[in-house]
Protein backbone atom coordinates (compact mmCIF):
# COMPACT_ATOMS: atom_id res chain seq x y z
CA UNK A 1 0.00 0.00 0.00
CA UNK A 2 1.76 3.15 -1.11
CA UNK A 3 -1.29 5.34 -1.35
CA UNK A 4 -2.50 5.80 2.23
CA UNK A 5 -3.46 9.32 3.30
CA UNK A 6 -4.48 10.79 6.64
CA UNK A 7 -6.54 13.97 6.93
CA UNK A 8 -5.26 16.07 9.80
CA UNK A 9 -7.72 18.04 11.89
CA UNK A 10 -6.10 21.01 13.62
CA UNK A 11 -7.05 24.25 15.31
CA UNK A 12 -5.12 27.18 16.69
CA UNK A 13 -1.84 25.86 15.29
CA UNK A 14 -2.13 22.51 17.09
CA UNK A 15 -2.95 19.09 15.71
CA UNK A 16 -6.10 17.46 16.98
CA UNK A 17 -5.57 14.25 19.03
CA UNK A 18 -7.03 12.36 16.09
CA UNK A 19 -4.04 13.15 13.85
CA UNK A 20 -1.57 10.78 15.49
CA UNK A 21 -4.33 8.24 16.14
CA UNK A 22 -4.79 8.06 12.36
CA UNK A 23 -1.08 7.34 12.06
CA UNK A 24 -1.42 4.60 14.68
CA UNK A 25 -4.38 3.17 12.77
CA UNK A 26 -2.46 3.32 9.48
CA UNK A 27 0.40 1.35 11.02
CA UNK A 28 -2.02 -1.30 12.27
CA UNK A 29 -4.20 -1.59 9.19
CA UNK A 30 -1.62 -0.87 6.48
CA UNK A 31 1.72 -1.81 8.06
CA UNK A 32 3.82 -1.35 4.92
CA UNK A 33 2.51 2.09 4.06
CA UNK A 34 4.14 5.46 4.51
CA UNK A 35 1.02 7.54 5.10
CA UNK A 36 0.93 11.02 3.63
CA UNK A 37 -0.63 13.69 5.85
CA UNK A 38 -3.12 16.14 4.32
CA UNK A 39 -3.41 19.50 6.04
CA UNK A 40 -5.69 22.29 4.86
CA UNK A 41 -6.12 25.71 6.37
CA UNK A 42 -4.65 29.15 6.20
CA UNK A 43 -1.62 31.09 7.37
CA UNK A 44 0.48 30.69 10.49
CA UNK A 45 -1.77 28.23 12.28
CA UNK A 46 -1.63 25.87 9.28
CA UNK A 47 2.16 26.22 9.13
CA UNK A 48 2.45 25.33 12.81
CA UNK A 49 0.20 22.29 12.36
CA UNK A 50 2.28 21.13 9.38
CA UNK A 51 5.50 21.51 11.37
CA UNK A 52 4.03 19.41 14.15
CA UNK A 53 2.82 16.78 11.66
CA UNK A 54 6.22 16.59 9.94
CA UNK A 55 7.69 15.31 13.19
CA UNK A 56 5.73 12.08 12.74
CA UNK A 57 4.66 11.84 9.08
CA UNK A 58 7.30 11.39 6.36
CA UNK A 59 5.33 13.64 4.00
CA UNK A 60 2.81 16.41 4.63
CA UNK A 61 0.79 18.02 1.85
CA UNK A 62 -0.08 21.59 2.76
CA UNK A 63 -3.10 23.34 1.25
CA UNK A 64 -3.08 27.01 2.20
CA UNK A 65 -6.04 29.10 1.04
CA UNK A 66 -7.97 31.76 2.90
CA UNK A 67 -11.32 30.00 2.27
CA UNK A 68 -9.95 26.93 4.04
CA UNK A 69 -9.37 28.81 7.30
CA UNK A 70 -12.53 27.13 8.55
CA UNK A 71 -12.66 23.40 7.68
CA UNK A 72 -15.81 23.37 5.55
CA UNK A 73 -16.40 19.83 4.28
CA UNK A 74 -18.13 21.19 1.19
CA UNK A 75 -14.78 22.75 0.17
CA UNK A 76 -12.55 19.94 1.41
CA UNK A 77 -14.47 17.27 -0.51
CA UNK A 78 -13.85 18.70 -4.01
CA UNK A 79 -10.28 19.55 -2.99
CA UNK A 80 -9.49 15.99 -1.94
CA UNK A 81 -11.29 14.54 -4.95
CA UNK A 82 -9.06 16.77 -7.09
CA UNK A 83 -5.68 15.89 -5.56
CA UNK A 84 -5.91 12.25 -4.47
CA UNK A 85 -4.67 9.58 -6.86
CA UNK A 86 -6.96 6.77 -8.05
CA UNK A 87 -7.20 3.96 -5.53
CA UNK A 88 -6.23 6.19 -2.60
CA UNK A 89 -7.03 5.03 0.91
CA UNK A 90 -8.02 8.03 3.01
CA UNK A 91 -8.20 7.94 6.79
CA UNK A 92 -10.43 10.48 8.54
CA UNK A 93 -11.44 10.88 12.17
CA UNK A 94 -15.04 9.79 12.80
CA UNK A 95 -15.78 13.28 14.10
CA UNK A 96 -18.52 15.66 13.08
CA UNK A 97 -16.17 16.80 10.29
CA UNK A 98 -15.45 13.23 9.20
CA UNK A 99 -19.16 12.43 9.13
CA UNK A 100 -19.76 15.54 7.03
CA UNK A 101 -16.92 14.90 4.60
CA UNK A 102 -16.46 11.15 4.33
CA UNK A 103 -19.57 9.60 2.76
CA UNK A 104 -19.71 12.03 -0.15
CA UNK A 105 -15.93 11.88 -0.60
CA UNK A 106 -16.12 8.13 -1.12
CA UNK A 107 -18.72 8.67 -3.86
CA UNK A 108 -16.63 11.35 -5.56
CA UNK A 109 -13.53 9.10 -5.45
CA UNK A 110 -15.46 6.03 -6.55
CA UNK A 111 -14.07 4.39 -3.40
CA UNK A 112 -15.58 2.19 -0.71
CA UNK A 113 -16.71 3.84 2.55
CA UNK A 114 -15.89 2.15 5.84
CA UNK A 115 -17.04 4.33 8.72
CA UNK A 116 -16.49 4.41 12.47
CA UNK A 117 -13.91 1.63 12.69
CA UNK A 118 -13.09 0.60 16.27
CA UNK A 119 -10.61 -2.19 15.57
CA UNK A 120 -9.08 -4.14 12.72
CA UNK A 121 -6.13 -6.13 11.49
CA UNK A 122 -3.59 -5.63 8.73
CA UNK A 123 -5.15 -5.56 5.28
CA UNK A 124 -4.64 -8.75 3.30
CA UNK A 125 -4.37 -8.06 -0.41
CA UNK A 126 -7.30 -5.89 -1.41
CA UNK A 127 -9.42 -6.74 1.62
CA UNK A 128 -9.52 -5.01 4.96
CA UNK A 129 -11.25 -6.69 7.87
CA UNK A 130 -12.45 -4.38 10.60
CA UNK A 131 -14.74 -4.16 13.59
CA UNK A 132 -17.69 -1.77 13.79
CA UNK A 133 -20.46 -1.31 16.30
CA UNK A 134 -24.18 -0.89 15.85
CA UNK A 135 -27.03 0.03 18.17
CA UNK A 136 -24.89 2.42 20.23
CA UNK A 137 -22.38 -0.32 20.95
CA UNK A 138 -24.88 -3.01 21.89
CA UNK A 139 -23.78 -5.18 18.96
CA UNK A 140 -20.33 -5.52 17.39
CA UNK A 141 -19.82 -6.66 13.82
CA UNK A 142 -16.94 -7.92 11.71
CA UNK A 143 -17.00 -6.24 8.32
CA UNK A 144 -14.88 -6.59 5.21
CA UNK A 145 -14.08 -3.75 2.88
CA UNK A 146 -12.96 -4.16 -0.74
CA UNK A 147 -10.00 -1.82 -1.25
CA UNK A 148 -9.54 -2.38 -4.96
CA UNK A 149 -11.00 1.00 -5.94
CA UNK A 150 -9.67 2.77 -2.86
CA UNK A 151 -11.47 3.49 0.39
CA UNK A 152 -12.45 6.26 2.76
CA UNK A 153 -12.12 4.95 6.30
CA UNK A 154 -13.18 6.88 9.39
CA UNK A 155 -11.77 5.92 12.78
CA UNK A 156 -13.42 6.25 16.13
CA UNK A 157 -11.67 8.55 18.55
CA UNK A 158 -9.56 6.61 21.04
CA UNK A 159 -9.87 3.29 19.20
CA UNK A 160 -6.28 3.33 17.95
CA UNK A 161 -3.31 4.52 20.01
CA UNK A 162 -1.70 7.75 18.93
CA UNK A 163 1.66 6.91 17.43
CA UNK A 164 4.42 9.47 17.88
CA UNK A 165 7.08 6.82 18.29
CA UNK A 166 9.02 7.40 15.10
CA UNK A 167 10.49 10.78 14.38
CA UNK A 168 10.15 11.45 10.71
CA UNK A 169 11.74 14.79 9.89
CA UNK A 170 9.08 14.82 7.23
CA UNK A 171 8.92 16.82 4.07
CA UNK A 172 6.26 19.55 3.82
CA UNK A 173 5.05 19.83 0.23
CA UNK A 174 3.22 23.07 -0.52
CA UNK A 175 0.32 22.11 -2.76
CA UNK A 176 -1.66 25.29 -2.18
CA UNK A 177 -2.02 26.07 -5.91
CA UNK A 178 -4.03 22.85 -6.27
CA UNK A 179 -6.56 24.32 -3.83
CA UNK A 180 -7.16 27.47 -5.87
CA UNK A 181 -10.62 28.44 -7.04
CA UNK A 182 -12.64 26.31 -4.60
CA UNK A 183 -16.23 27.42 -4.21
CA UNK A 184 -18.97 25.80 -2.17
CA UNK A 185 -22.74 25.89 -2.22
CA UNK A 186 -22.61 25.77 1.56
CA UNK A 187 -20.86 28.79 3.05
CA UNK A 188 -19.64 28.97 6.63
CA UNK A 189 -21.17 31.90 8.53
CA UNK A 190 -20.20 31.61 12.20
CA UNK A 191 -19.68 29.40 15.22
CA UNK A 192 -22.05 29.68 18.14
CA UNK A 193 -20.57 28.31 21.37
CA UNK A 194 -22.68 26.05 23.58
CA UNK A 195 -24.82 27.94 26.08
CA UNK A 196 -23.65 28.00 29.69
CA UNK A 197 -26.17 26.82 32.26
CA UNK A 198 -26.80 27.55 35.91
CA UNK A 199 -24.51 24.66 36.73
CA UNK A 200 -21.05 23.76 35.48
CA UNK A 201 -20.88 19.97 35.64
CA UNK A 202 -17.29 20.02 34.34
CA UNK A 203 -16.15 21.21 37.78
CA UNK A 204 -18.14 18.72 39.84
CA UNK A 205 -16.37 15.92 41.72
CA UNK A 206 -19.38 13.68 42.20
CA UNK A 207 -21.94 13.22 39.44
CA UNK A 208 -25.22 11.35 39.28
CA UNK A 209 -26.03 10.80 35.60
CA UNK A 210 -29.38 9.70 34.26
CA UNK A 211 -30.22 8.13 30.91
CA UNK A 212 -33.21 7.03 28.89
CA UNK A 213 -33.75 4.14 31.30
CA UNK A 214 -35.47 6.62 33.61
CA UNK A 215 -38.49 6.14 31.35
CA UNK A 216 -40.56 9.16 32.22
CA UNK A 217 -40.20 12.83 32.99
CA UNK A 218 -41.90 12.35 36.37
CA UNK A 219 -39.15 9.95 37.45
CA UNK A 220 -36.46 12.62 37.15
CA UNK A 221 -37.45 13.67 40.69
CA UNK A 222 -36.13 10.31 41.96
CA UNK A 223 -32.61 10.98 40.70
CA UNK A 224 -32.75 14.60 41.85
CA UNK A 225 -33.44 13.33 45.35
CA UNK A 226 -30.59 10.86 45.15
CA UNK A 227 -28.20 13.55 43.93
CA UNK A 228 -29.41 15.78 46.78
CA UNK A 229 -28.82 13.07 49.39
CA UNK A 230 -25.32 12.40 48.02
CA UNK A 231 -24.44 16.07 47.73
CA UNK A 232 -23.78 15.38 44.05
CA UNK A 233 -24.65 17.27 40.87
CA UNK A 234 -27.13 15.83 38.37
CA UNK A 235 -26.19 15.29 34.72
CA UNK A 236 -27.53 13.11 31.92
CA UNK A 237 -27.21 11.46 28.53
CA UNK A 238 -28.38 13.03 25.31
CA UNK A 239 -31.93 11.59 25.01
CA UNK A 240 -32.83 13.28 28.31
CA UNK A 241 -31.87 16.65 26.82
CA UNK A 242 -33.58 15.88 23.50
CA UNK A 243 -36.78 15.18 25.44
CA UNK A 244 -36.26 18.50 27.28
CA UNK A 245 -36.36 16.80 30.69
CA UNK A 246 -33.06 18.44 31.64
CA UNK A 247 -31.10 21.37 30.19
CA UNK A 248 -28.39 20.99 27.56
CA UNK A 249 -25.55 22.17 29.87
CA UNK A 250 -26.14 18.99 31.90
CA UNK A 251 -25.46 16.67 28.94
CA UNK A 252 -22.31 14.56 29.16
CA UNK A 253 -20.71 13.39 25.92
CA UNK A 254 -19.05 14.29 22.66
CA UNK A 255 -21.78 16.76 21.76
CA UNK A 256 -22.16 17.91 25.36
CA UNK A 257 -19.80 18.48 28.27
CA UNK A 258 -16.56 16.69 29.11
CA UNK A 259 -16.49 15.90 32.82
CA UNK A 260 -13.63 14.74 35.08
CA UNK A 261 -15.33 13.67 38.30
CA UNK A 262 -14.01 11.46 41.11
CA UNK A 263 -17.23 9.42 41.17
CA UNK A 264 -19.75 8.93 38.33
CA UNK A 265 -22.99 7.08 38.95
CA UNK A 266 -24.61 6.11 35.60
CA UNK A 267 -28.30 5.23 35.93
CA UNK A 268 -30.13 3.71 32.95
CA UNK A 269 -27.40 4.66 30.48
CA UNK A 270 -26.40 2.10 27.84
CA UNK A 271 -22.83 3.32 27.39
CA UNK A 272 -22.58 4.61 23.82
CA UNK A 273 -19.15 5.89 22.80
CA UNK A 274 -20.60 9.37 22.40
CA UNK A 275 -21.60 9.34 26.06
CA UNK A 276 -18.44 7.70 27.40
CA UNK A 277 -16.38 10.09 25.29
CA UNK A 278 -17.40 12.87 27.67
CA UNK A 279 -16.13 11.13 30.81
CA UNK A 280 -12.41 11.67 31.41
CA UNK A 281 -9.95 11.01 34.20
CA UNK A 282 -11.01 7.40 34.96
CA UNK A 283 -13.50 8.10 37.74
CA UNK A 284 -14.94 5.44 40.02
CA UNK A 285 -17.82 4.59 37.70
CA UNK A 286 -20.88 2.82 39.07
CA UNK A 287 -23.43 1.63 36.49
CA UNK A 288 -27.00 0.62 37.20
CA UNK A 289 -28.77 -0.99 34.27
CA UNK A 290 -31.45 -3.63 33.95
CA UNK A 291 -29.70 -5.19 30.94
CA UNK A 292 -26.72 -7.33 32.04
CA UNK A 293 -25.26 -6.99 28.51
CA UNK A 294 -25.32 -3.19 28.44
CA UNK A 295 -21.97 -1.89 27.13
CA UNK A 296 -21.70 0.48 30.11
CA UNK A 297 -20.65 -2.52 32.21
CA UNK A 298 -17.48 -2.77 30.09
CA UNK A 299 -16.48 0.70 31.18
CA UNK A 300 -17.74 0.64 34.76
CA UNK A 301 -15.77 -0.11 37.93
CA UNK A 302 -18.82 -1.51 39.68
CA UNK A 303 -22.03 -2.73 38.09
CA UNK A 304 -25.51 -3.43 39.36
CA UNK A 305 -28.13 -5.21 37.27
CA UNK A 306 -31.32 -3.71 38.61
CA UNK A 307 -34.39 -1.64 37.85
CA UNK A 308 -33.28 1.87 38.70
CA UNK A 309 -36.82 2.85 39.63
CA UNK A 310 -36.56 0.42 42.55
CA UNK A 311 -32.91 0.78 43.41
CA UNK A 312 -32.67 4.58 43.36
CA UNK A 313 -35.28 5.26 46.08
CA UNK A 314 -33.74 2.48 48.20
CA UNK A 315 -30.30 4.02 47.78
CA UNK A 316 -31.53 7.51 48.63
CA UNK A 317 -33.16 6.11 51.74
CA UNK A 318 -30.03 4.16 52.76
CA UNK A 319 -27.86 7.27 52.40
CA UNK A 320 -30.24 9.40 54.47
CA UNK A 321 -30.35 6.75 57.21
CA UNK A 322 -26.58 6.53 57.28
CA UNK A 323 -26.23 10.24 58.10
Amino acid sequence: MDNVFAYLAHAGGKLDDSALELLGAARTLFPGAAPVALAAGSGASLDAACQEAAASFAEVWKFDQEVLAYPNAELLRPLLARVLPPGAIVLLPHSTLGMDLGPGLSVKLGAAYLPDVVDGSAAAGMTLEAVRQEFSGQASAHVTCDLSAGAVVTLRSGAFKADASRSAAGRIVDRSPDAAGLAARRRFVKLVQAEAGDIDITREEVLVSVGRGIGDKENIALVEELAGAMGAALCCSRPIVDAKWLEKPRQVGTSGQTVKPRVYLALGISGSFQHLGGIKGSPFLVAVNKNPKAPIFQAASVGVVADLLELVPALTEAIRKGR
Binding site: E74, T96, R185, G231, S301, L311
Partner: protein, 255 residues
Amino acid sequence: MEILVCVKRVPDAAENEIAVEGGALRGDDLVYSVNEWDNYAVEEAIQIVEREGGSVTVVTVGDGESEEVLRREMAMGANQGLLLSDPAFAGADGLGLATVLAAAVRRGAYDLVLTGAQADDGAAQVGGMLAAILDWPFASLVNSIEAQGGLLRVGREIEGGAQEVSEIDLPCVLSIQTGINEPRYVGLRGIRKVASVELPVLDAAALGVAPAPARVRRIDYFVPPAGAGADMLTGSTAELAGQLVELLKAKGGLK
Protein backbone atom coordinates in the same frame (compact mmCIF):
# COMPACT_ATOMS: atom_id res chain seq x y z
CA MET B 1 -41.19 23.67 -0.57
CA GLU B 2 -41.32 20.07 -1.80
CA ILE B 3 -39.54 17.92 0.76
CA LEU B 4 -38.55 14.26 0.60
CA VAL B 5 -37.69 12.55 3.89
CA CYS B 6 -35.85 9.21 3.92
CA VAL B 7 -36.92 6.90 6.73
CA LYS B 8 -35.80 3.45 7.79
CA ARG B 9 -37.36 0.61 9.75
CA VAL B 10 -34.92 -0.62 12.40
CA PRO B 11 -34.94 -2.89 15.45
CA ASP B 12 -35.81 -0.51 18.28
CA ALA B 13 -32.77 -0.43 20.56
CA ALA B 14 -34.74 1.29 23.32
CA GLU B 15 -37.41 -1.45 23.29
CA ASN B 16 -35.16 -4.48 22.75
CA GLU B 17 -32.18 -5.93 24.45
CA ILE B 18 -30.12 -6.39 21.31
CA ALA B 19 -28.71 -9.89 21.69
CA VAL B 20 -26.29 -11.75 19.44
CA GLU B 21 -26.64 -15.48 18.85
CA GLY B 22 -24.68 -17.56 16.37
CA GLY B 23 -23.33 -14.55 14.50
CA ALA B 24 -26.71 -12.88 14.04
CA LEU B 25 -29.04 -10.65 16.01
CA ARG B 26 -31.52 -12.74 17.93
CA GLY B 27 -34.52 -11.92 15.82
CA ASP B 28 -37.56 -13.79 17.09
CA ASP B 29 -38.75 -11.18 19.56
CA LEU B 30 -37.36 -7.97 18.05
CA VAL B 31 -39.63 -4.95 18.10
CA TYR B 32 -39.17 -2.68 15.08
CA SER B 33 -39.87 1.00 14.72
CA VAL B 34 -38.86 4.07 12.76
CA ASN B 35 -35.21 4.99 13.24
CA GLU B 36 -35.15 7.58 16.06
CA TRP B 37 -33.40 10.27 13.98
CA ASP B 38 -35.90 9.95 11.12
CA ASN B 39 -38.81 11.04 13.31
CA TYR B 40 -37.00 14.32 13.94
CA ALA B 41 -36.46 14.69 10.18
CA VAL B 42 -40.14 14.14 9.40
CA GLU B 43 -41.24 16.53 12.15
CA GLU B 44 -38.87 19.18 10.81
CA ALA B 45 -40.20 18.73 7.26
CA ILE B 46 -43.79 19.06 8.48
CA GLN B 47 -42.92 22.26 10.37
CA ILE B 48 -41.15 23.76 7.33
CA VAL B 49 -44.18 23.03 5.15
CA GLU B 50 -46.48 24.52 7.79
CA ARG B 51 -44.45 27.75 7.51
CA GLU B 52 -43.51 27.81 3.83
CA GLY B 53 -46.15 25.70 2.08
CA GLY B 54 -45.47 22.65 -0.09
CA SER B 55 -45.68 19.01 0.82
CA VAL B 56 -43.81 16.21 2.56
CA THR B 57 -43.15 12.81 1.00
CA VAL B 58 -41.65 9.98 3.05
CA VAL B 59 -39.67 7.27 1.29
CA THR B 60 -38.07 4.03 2.37
CA VAL B 61 -36.07 1.27 0.73
CA GLY B 62 -37.23 -1.99 2.21
CA ASP B 63 -39.51 -4.98 2.01
CA GLY B 64 -43.28 -5.16 2.48
CA GLU B 65 -42.89 -4.84 6.24
CA SER B 66 -41.40 -1.39 5.82
CA GLU B 67 -44.81 -0.08 4.79
CA GLU B 68 -45.69 0.31 8.45
CA VAL B 69 -43.05 2.98 9.01
CA LEU B 70 -44.32 4.97 6.02
CA ARG B 71 -47.85 4.85 7.44
CA ARG B 72 -46.61 5.92 10.85
CA GLU B 73 -44.89 8.97 9.37
CA MET B 74 -48.00 9.75 7.31
CA ALA B 75 -50.02 9.61 10.49
CA MET B 76 -47.59 12.21 11.84
CA GLY B 77 -48.46 14.46 8.92
CA ALA B 78 -46.44 13.48 5.86
CA ASN B 79 -48.59 13.88 2.75
CA GLN B 80 -47.34 10.96 0.65
CA GLY B 81 -45.45 7.72 1.12
CA LEU B 82 -43.25 5.90 -1.35
CA LEU B 83 -41.94 2.34 -0.96
CA LEU B 84 -38.87 1.34 -2.97
CA SER B 85 -38.80 -2.41 -2.97
CA ASP B 86 -37.07 -5.08 -5.03
CA PRO B 87 -35.21 -8.28 -4.23
CA ALA B 88 -32.25 -6.65 -5.96
CA PHE B 89 -32.10 -4.04 -3.16
CA ALA B 90 -31.66 -6.62 -0.40
CA GLY B 91 -28.12 -6.64 0.92
CA ALA B 92 -27.35 -3.21 -0.53
CA ASP B 93 -24.69 -1.30 1.37
CA GLY B 94 -24.91 2.43 2.11
CA LEU B 95 -23.94 3.31 -1.44
CA GLY B 96 -26.52 0.91 -2.86
CA LEU B 97 -29.26 2.47 -0.73
CA ALA B 98 -28.18 5.97 -1.70
CA THR B 99 -28.22 4.97 -5.39
CA VAL B 100 -31.79 3.71 -5.11
CA LEU B 101 -32.90 6.80 -3.17
CA ALA B 102 -31.20 9.09 -5.73
CA ALA B 103 -33.28 7.51 -8.50
CA ALA B 104 -36.44 8.30 -6.53
CA VAL B 105 -35.31 11.89 -5.95
CA ARG B 106 -34.73 12.36 -9.68
CA ARG B 107 -38.26 11.20 -10.49
CA GLY B 108 -39.70 14.03 -8.38
CA ALA B 109 -39.21 17.77 -8.17
CA TYR B 110 -37.88 18.15 -4.64
CA ASP B 111 -36.27 21.27 -3.21
CA LEU B 112 -35.00 19.58 -0.09
CA VAL B 113 -34.17 16.04 0.97
CA LEU B 114 -33.84 15.15 4.65
CA THR B 115 -32.35 12.02 6.21
CA GLY B 116 -31.62 11.06 9.78
CA ALA B 117 -28.05 11.74 10.94
CA GLN B 118 -27.65 8.01 11.34
CA ALA B 119 -29.59 4.78 11.62
CA ASP B 120 -29.40 2.70 14.79
CA ASP B 121 -28.05 -0.17 12.70
CA GLY B 122 -26.31 2.11 10.23
CA ALA B 123 -23.27 4.25 9.85
CA ALA B 124 -24.23 7.88 9.23
CA GLN B 125 -23.51 7.53 5.52
CA VAL B 126 -26.62 7.45 3.34
CA GLY B 127 -27.38 11.21 3.43
CA GLY B 128 -23.90 12.33 2.43
CA MET B 129 -23.69 9.72 -0.32
CA LEU B 130 -27.09 10.69 -1.68
CA ALA B 131 -26.03 14.33 -1.89
CA ALA B 132 -22.82 13.39 -3.69
CA ILE B 133 -24.66 11.19 -6.22
CA LEU B 134 -27.15 13.99 -6.93
CA ASP B 135 -24.32 16.52 -6.86
CA TRP B 136 -26.31 18.63 -4.37
CA PRO B 137 -24.76 20.44 -1.40
CA PHE B 138 -24.96 18.62 1.93
CA ALA B 139 -24.87 19.37 5.64
CA SER B 140 -24.81 16.70 8.34
CA LEU B 141 -25.99 16.76 11.96
CA VAL B 142 -28.31 19.69 11.34
CA ASN B 143 -30.02 21.05 14.44
CA SER B 144 -31.66 24.19 13.06
CA ILE B 145 -33.14 25.19 9.69
CA GLU B 146 -34.41 28.59 8.62
CA ALA B 147 -35.62 29.31 5.07
CA GLN B 148 -34.25 32.54 3.58
CA GLY B 149 -35.46 33.06 0.03
CA GLY B 150 -33.73 30.63 -2.29
CA LEU B 151 -31.46 29.25 0.39
CA LEU B 152 -31.43 27.89 3.91
CA ARG B 153 -29.57 29.00 6.99
CA VAL B 154 -28.67 25.80 8.83
CA GLY B 155 -26.92 24.99 12.09
CA ARG B 156 -24.78 21.86 12.45
CA GLU B 157 -24.18 20.50 15.92
CA ILE B 158 -20.46 19.89 16.35
CA GLU B 159 -18.24 18.72 19.20
CA GLY B 160 -19.01 20.08 22.64
CA GLY B 161 -22.51 21.13 21.59
CA ALA B 162 -21.26 24.16 19.64
CA GLN B 163 -23.19 25.08 16.53
CA GLU B 164 -21.68 25.75 13.12
CA VAL B 165 -23.95 28.08 11.15
CA SER B 166 -23.87 28.06 7.35
CA GLU B 167 -25.87 29.15 4.34
CA ILE B 168 -26.70 26.39 1.91
CA ASP B 169 -28.18 26.61 -1.58
CA LEU B 170 -31.29 24.70 -2.61
CA PRO B 171 -31.80 21.98 -3.61
CA CYS B 172 -29.76 20.28 -0.92
CA VAL B 173 -29.60 17.24 1.33
CA LEU B 174 -29.51 17.65 5.12
CA SER B 175 -29.04 14.96 7.76
CA ILE B 176 -30.97 15.75 10.90
CA GLN B 177 -29.70 15.44 14.47
CA THR B 178 -31.99 14.54 17.38
CA GLY B 179 -33.19 17.41 19.55
CA ILE B 180 -33.86 19.78 16.61
CA ASN B 181 -37.58 19.69 17.54
CA GLU B 182 -40.01 17.60 19.54
CA PRO B 183 -41.54 15.00 17.21
CA ARG B 184 -45.32 15.00 17.61
CA TYR B 185 -47.07 12.10 19.22
CA VAL B 186 -48.83 9.63 16.93
CA GLY B 187 -51.91 7.99 18.35
CA LEU B 188 -53.68 4.86 17.20
CA ARG B 189 -56.42 6.97 15.68
CA GLY B 190 -53.93 8.71 13.43
CA ILE B 191 -52.51 5.40 12.27
CA ARG B 192 -55.98 4.04 11.56
CA LYS B 193 -56.76 7.04 9.37
CA VAL B 194 -53.96 6.21 6.96
CA ALA B 195 -54.26 2.43 7.26
CA SER B 196 -55.96 2.00 3.90
CA VAL B 197 -54.18 4.66 1.84
CA GLU B 198 -52.60 3.14 -1.28
CA LEU B 199 -48.81 3.38 -1.18
CA PRO B 200 -47.00 3.44 -4.52
CA VAL B 201 -44.30 0.78 -4.77
CA LEU B 202 -41.38 1.23 -7.17
CA ASP B 203 -39.04 -1.57 -8.10
CA ALA B 204 -35.62 -1.59 -9.77
CA ALA B 205 -37.13 -1.53 -13.26
CA ALA B 206 -39.47 1.38 -12.50
CA LEU B 207 -36.58 3.32 -10.96
CA GLY B 208 -34.09 2.27 -13.61
CA VAL B 209 -31.39 1.39 -11.08
CA ALA B 210 -29.28 -1.61 -10.29
CA PRO B 211 -27.26 -1.12 -7.11
CA ALA B 212 -23.65 -2.25 -7.52
CA PRO B 213 -22.50 -5.21 -5.42
CA ALA B 214 -21.71 -4.11 -1.86
CA ARG B 215 -18.04 -3.36 -1.26
CA VAL B 216 -18.50 -3.22 2.48
CA ARG B 217 -20.05 -6.37 3.91
CA ARG B 218 -20.96 -7.44 7.40
CA ILE B 219 -19.58 -10.92 8.04
CA ASP B 220 -21.23 -11.50 11.38
CA TYR B 221 -22.32 -9.98 14.65
CA PHE B 222 -20.34 -10.99 17.72
CA VAL B 223 -20.03 -10.35 21.41
CA PRO B 224 -16.68 -8.76 22.25
CA PRO B 225 -14.69 -10.57 24.94
CA ALA B 226 -15.69 -9.25 28.33
CA GLY B 227 -12.38 -7.45 29.00
CA ALA B 228 -11.78 -6.11 32.47
CA GLY B 229 -15.43 -5.18 32.97
CA ALA B 230 -17.11 -4.18 36.20
CA ASP B 231 -17.28 -5.90 39.57
CA MET B 232 -20.91 -6.94 39.64
CA LEU B 233 -22.80 -6.58 42.90
CA THR B 234 -25.58 -8.98 43.79
CA GLY B 235 -28.27 -9.17 46.43
CA SER B 236 -31.70 -7.87 47.28
CA THR B 237 -32.54 -4.24 46.58
CA ALA B 238 -31.82 -3.33 50.22
CA GLU B 239 -28.52 -5.25 50.16
CA LEU B 240 -27.48 -3.61 46.92
CA ALA B 241 -28.28 -0.17 48.35
CA GLY B 242 -26.24 -0.99 51.45
CA GLN B 243 -23.22 -2.12 49.43
CA LEU B 244 -23.41 0.96 47.23
CA VAL B 245 -23.48 3.28 50.25
CA GLU B 246 -20.29 1.67 51.58
CA LEU B 247 -18.56 1.89 48.19
CA LEU B 248 -19.61 5.49 47.63
CA LYS B 249 -18.37 6.43 51.10
CA ALA B 250 -15.04 4.74 50.48
CA LYS B 251 -14.55 6.44 47.11
CA GLY B 252 -15.55 9.91 48.27
CA GLY B 253 -18.93 9.79 46.55
CA LEU B 254 -20.89 11.10 49.53
CA LYS B 255 -20.44 14.68 50.61
